[in-house]
């Protein structure tokens, strides 16, 4: 049996990826998210308006051949602003997810591996952050840091890491007692070795799932903050502050394209990323290995 089968065999990641490709909802999410991402990233190359260009001949104009998504009250092109808003939303989401992922992983690793006291202190700190009501915490943090892209990234990251820290800690606590980790210690492995060669590969499923779901979550948080005027400040575009700008009754009733398109983009992006995240979670589920 050993002699006949191919020499290189699929690893656990390859098998998880194969299962992911079989998940229809996830494939749908991917088929929405990837084209959306490409359009958002490439729009300056082929779209004729910049997000802050003012077209005085067309204020509050509905969708036309020139302005596909119409214009807003001062004649700015909604399509360009939705694209620009998408760029900022994605930038904020990716950056805050990366930052909170790093903080969460390190705190989780320290509390699992650096001894009882480090564990007790960091976990009580996690409890503290988790008990704060998120909206109020966000408002207070945002009012301290102010508006703009990087303050928004900071605020979202500082709110989101404790969940990951908990999950990483429990995974590493379990891992620490496993025989193959003990074997590595018996061969003289240092803490960085254990963390990088055993901790990281065995938490990658948690990290991947956290990352995708957190990106969706961060897009929503950013939109919420911007809607409240504490995230991305005008005139910079973001899906949240476009919704905020369009919230007067007259706009809601008479110029629906001003909120329909950013709102639609938001819903579509979050939905697609959530589908991908669910698919990844199922693909990495250890029970799926049995099939």
């Amino acid at each position: 049996m050993l002699a006949r089968s191919p020499i290189r065999s699929p690893g656990p990641f390859t098998r998880a990826f194969d299962r992911f490709l079989l998940n229809r909802a996830a494939m749908f999410g991917l088929s929405v998210a990837v084209p959306m991402l490409m359009i958002i990233l490439s729009y300056p190359l082929w779209w004729r308006f910049l997000p802050n260009d003012i077209d005085l001949m067309a204020m509050n104009s509905g969708p036309t051949a020139t302005h596909w998504f119409g214009t807003d009250g001062v004649g700015r092109d909604v399509f360009a602003r939705v694209m620009e808003g998408g760029r900022i939303s994605l930038l904020v989401a990716v950056a805050s997810t990366a930052l909170s992922g790093l903080i969460g992983f390190l705190v989780g690793a320290v509390s699992a591996l650096a001894g009882r006291w480090a564990d007790a202190i960091s976990m009580r700190f996690v409890d503290l952050v988790m008990t704060l009501p998120p909206v109020i915490f966000l408002l207070v943090l945002a009012s301290i840091t102010g508006t703009g892209i990087w303050p928004t990234v900071m605020v979202i990251s500082l709110l989101s890491w404790p969940l990951l820290a908990r999950m990483i800690r429990s995974r590493l606590l379990e891992l620490r007692e496993r025989d193959f980790v003990l074997a590595a210690r018996g061969m003289g492995a240092s803490l960085p070795h254990l963390l990088l060669r055993h901790g990281l590969p065995n938490s990658i499923d948690i990290l991947v799932v956290y990352t995708t779901l957190q990106i969706a979550n961060a897009i929503l948080l950013e939109a919420g903050l911007s809607f409240l005027g504490l995230g991305i400040a005008p005139p910079a575009a973001s899906w949240g502050n476009m919704l905020n700008a369009a919230r007067s009754t007259s706009v809601l009733e008479q110029y629906p394209w001003q909120w329909l398109f950013p709102g639609g983009a938001l819903v579509l992006a979050v939905l697609a990323i959530n589908f991908i995240g669910d698919g990844l979670r199922d693909a990495f589920d250890p029970r799926a290995e049995l099939n």
């Binding site: 050993l2 065999s9 193959f180 061969m187 003289g188 060669r197």
Partner: protein, 317 residues
């Protein structure tokens, strides 16, 4: 017995859990000579694995001394300990848990060499291939993952991993108990072969007395974290001194159905380490116990050359 490679003195291990103190090991002392294979037998929960892991400092002993080739291990700093670790390796009981599911066999076998900074990538892989050869597995297994192998093959990979660092001393923690009977013979012969070929010193933990008789020069009998008897194998199996050892030996199944020895069935279970009996810990299940057994903690004393027992009764023969 030649000079001692490993000498354990007064090893103790206890845990405190919710205010109760669990004594897992109490006053464990023994020596293992260079090239010797010593068996460690006892029921589940008697502390066999804890002894094996304490020697390698995978578990921190509470007190006592462990001296390996003249070096006191219990007081070593992490960095010095790291340089001693390649000389002593561990073979695990469960071949399904002891190999990382996320690493190829090549990565598993070169891990120790990498940690210790031995050679470059190519040299390390070469050593991994030769270790696979030693345990009769094909060299192209280095590209595969552990889940593609059977239990017996995995256990041989575990043995190969222990050998990559060319250790002098190996703790084999029930390396057979997770395997099929048909595979056990294969693995035990492989271990014995390697031990003789490489001149390894070994602490062989098992609860299978037949296997211990086959592979070990001397045997330590453990009960509830205390040593009951130490003797050369031949001596122990022919003339067991301690009532506990006799009960264990009488439980070995005999291949000849008619020649049943008087089987002594021990009543009850091993007591809880949170609340060990006073005096001799075995007295609650001992068929020969006297009133005095509850008062005196029996010392390990020599009853024949190289044969020690911890029992106050000498009138049992």
């Amino acid at each position: 017995m030649s000079e001692a490679l490993l000498s354990v003195r007064d090893l103790t291990k206890h845990y405190t859990s919710r205010g109760t103190r669990l004594t897992i090991l109490q006053g464990i002392s023994f020596e293992i000579g260079k090239g010797e294979v010593v068996g460690l037998v006892g029921e589940s929960g008697s502390g066999k694995t804890t002894i094996g892991r304490s020697i390698l400092r995978l578990v921190e002993p509470s007190s006592g001394s462990i001296c390996f080739a003249g070096t006191e291990l219990t007081s070593l700093s992490a960095s010095v300990l790291r340089s001693v670790r390649p000389r002593m390796q561990y073979i695990f009981q469960d071949p399904y848990a002891s190999l990382s599911p996320r690493m190829t066999i090549g990565e598993i076998l070169t891990e120790g060499l990498k940690i210790q900074g031995v050679g470059n990538r190519e040299e390390r892989l070469e050593r991994a291939r030769s270790a696979l050869g030693k345990v009769d597995l094909p060299a192209d297994a280095i590209h595969r993952y552990a889940h593609e192998f059977s239990g017996g093959q995995r256990q041989r990979i575990g043995i190969a991993r222990a050998l990559t660092l060319s250790p002098e001393f190996i703790v084999a923690d029930e390396p057979l108990s997770a395997l099929d009977v048909s595979i056990q013979a294969q693995v035990i012969n492989l271990l014995r072969d390697l031990q003789q070929r490489l001149g390894l010193t070994m602490l062989f933990i098992s609860h299978d007395l037949a296997v211990v008789e086959y592979i070990c020069d001397r045997v330590i009998v453990l009960y509830l974290g205390r040593i009951m008897e130490i003797a050369p194998s031949a001596d122990l199996y022919a003339k067991p001194q301690h009532p506990y050892t006799r009960a264990l030996l009488s439980a070995i199944p005999s291949p000849d159905g008619n020649a049943r020895r008087d089987r002594q069935i021990l009543k009850g279970d091993i007591p809880s380490p949170a609340n060990p009996p006073a005096g001799c810990v075995f007295r609650t299940r001992c068929p020969k116990a006297l009133d005095a057994c509850a008062r005196i903690v029996p010392e390990l004393r020599e009853v024949a050359p190289g044969h020690f027992k911890a029992c106050i009764r000498d009138d049992l023969n």
